[in-house]
Amino acid sequence: MTDQDIIGRIKEILIEEFEVDEAIIKPDSNMYEELELDSLDSVDLVVALENEFGFKIDRTRDEEALRHMRTLNDAVAFIKQKIA
């Protein structure tokens, strides 16, 4: 799976599940400041990514990485590490 594929699938989730306007989603968009997800959305986004990419979050080990996941590119890096 290329980075582009992963970004495409994250975009789909942001559009479908969180009603983010497609036009403003860029790979380096800050999902919380620019795409206006809130703290509850951040939890639901992780659940959606788990389901979409078929990995399992370790809530102790992954917490730090998830806290620093701000942009779509950050999410790509996290997902690649989880599915590697």
Partner: protein, 403 residues
């Protein structure tokens, strides 16, 4: 003490979506009860239920909708109808002088789902963030509060099958005491087998599966249990003078609210508690029993409950009781919602000048005192309407409407 006006009503029920459809059903004695084969497969003894038909979800963003249960969506539809009818502005609604009080006593699906997910996935993360806002009894109040933006009272009353009556009553008290200028109030009731399986375990439901529309027969000698139902009923109450001043169309007044509890049995109503509640309600409203035109009975179609209520009505009103009917003969038992839906049904009857029939009433209950059951719709002008609610645990609510 301030007088309390009713300026808006809205409803989603098994006999219709919106007041226009509902008033026609009330007038024509239409039943909203159906047989649910899934319940029989699941081992239910009584597999009948009220069914809400042709419901269209209101327009809402996915984010707003995801924390809303089905019955909260029903409440939102009903509250939009009530607010539109009241003519209140967005600014008035969004004021700290506007409260929101809803009667509800369960939200089963979200609770079942969050437990299932945790057991299955061995993690709470997959529950996501929407369930917690759906699982609390106060789910409808908190969701509507964020949608409507009112800034005064905002809480939920759980009082079993009197929840809706107590919610309207407390709303009325807050206005009478001058603590709120207006309160959006009502009751909600989920319809799904999960929320009523434990009721079925108590043998409370009718088993007249071959005649769903004939199954709910309050006060009839051949009644064999209640039929669960639900939806949402919402009412706008306002301080009377303020409503008058702004030129609102006043649908009626809540003349009095009274509460009582039996202090005896969990499941078997004493009758004495409800009688005390009716008596206090009339006293508070300074209305004599002979002035009451109509009693909207709690009458759920259970053998014991209806007999106790009939006797309580007889004790207070004597052999010349006002007309009595139970709308649950058509809707089924709307439980947490029923005390609030009675306000909507009663207001509609007063507006159209009729008493809705207690359908399926064929034979007078032999053991209970005789009361004046309206088996057919009756055309008549109404002034004072008494609404009874009685819940598990022996909690009673009475509302006296002046319409």
């Amino acid at each position: 003490m301030y007088d309390v006006a009713i300026t808006g009503i809205g409803i989603v029920s098994s006999i219709g979506i919106g007041t226009r459809e509902v008033v026609n059903s009330l007038c024509n004695g239409k039943s909203g009860i159906q047989f649910d084969p899934q319940r029989l497969e699941l081992g239910f003894r009584g597999a009948l239920t009220g069914v809400i038909k042709n419901y269209q979800m209101p327009e809402l963003s996915r984010k707003k909708r995801k924390t809303m249960t089905e019955f909260t969506l029903h409440a939102y539809t009903a509250v939009l109808e009530a607010i539109e009818m009241s003519g209140l502005s967005q600014e008035e609604i969004a004021s700290e002088r506007t409260g929101l009080i809803i009667g509800n006593d369960s939200s089963t699906l979200a609770n079942v789902s969050q437990v299932d997910i945790t057991r299955e996935q061995k993690s709470t993360l997959p529950i996501g963030t929407s369930k917690v806002f759906q699982a609390l009894n106060s789910t409808t109040t908190m969701n509507l509060n964020t949608l409507l933006g009112n800034k005064g009272a905002s809480w939920t009353i759980s009082g079993a099958c009197s929840s809706g009556g107590h919610a309207i009553g407390q709303a009325c008290d807050l206005i009478a005491l001058g603590r709120q200028d207006r309160v959006i109030c009502g009751g909600v009731q989920e319809i799904n087998w999960e929320s009523v399986c434990s009721f079925d375990a108590t043998n409370a439901f009718s088993i007249r599966h071959d005649q769903p529309e004939r199954a709910s027969r309050p006060f009839d000698a051949d009644r064999d249990g209640l039929v669960p139902s639900g939806g949402a009923a919402m009412v706008i109450l306002e301080q009377y003078d303020m409503a008058k001043k702004r030129g609102a169309n006043i649908l009626g007044r809540v003349r009095a609210y009274a509460f009582s509890s039996d202090g005896s049995d969990l499941a078997v109503p004493s009758g004495e508690g409800l009688e005390r509640c009716m008596r206090e309600c009339l006293n508070r409203g300074t209305v004599r029993p002979d002035q009451v035109d109509y009693i909207s009975a709690h009458g759920t179609s259970t053998p014991v409950g209806d007999a106790a209520e009939a006797q309580a009505i007889y004790n207070l009103f004597g052999s010349k009781s006002p007309w009595v009917s139970s709308i649950k003969s058509m809707t089924g038992h709307e439980m947490w919602m029923s005390g609030a839906s009675q306000v909507v049904y009663g207001t509609l009857m007063a507006e159209k000048r009729f008493i809705a029939p207690n359908i399926n009433f064929k034979k007078q209950e032999p053991t209970a005192a005789k009361i004046n059951i309206a088996a057919q719709a009756i055309e008549t002008k109404l002034k004072y309407i008494l609404l009874n609610s009685a819940g598990f645990g022996g909690t009673n609510s009475c509302l006296l409407l002046e319409v």
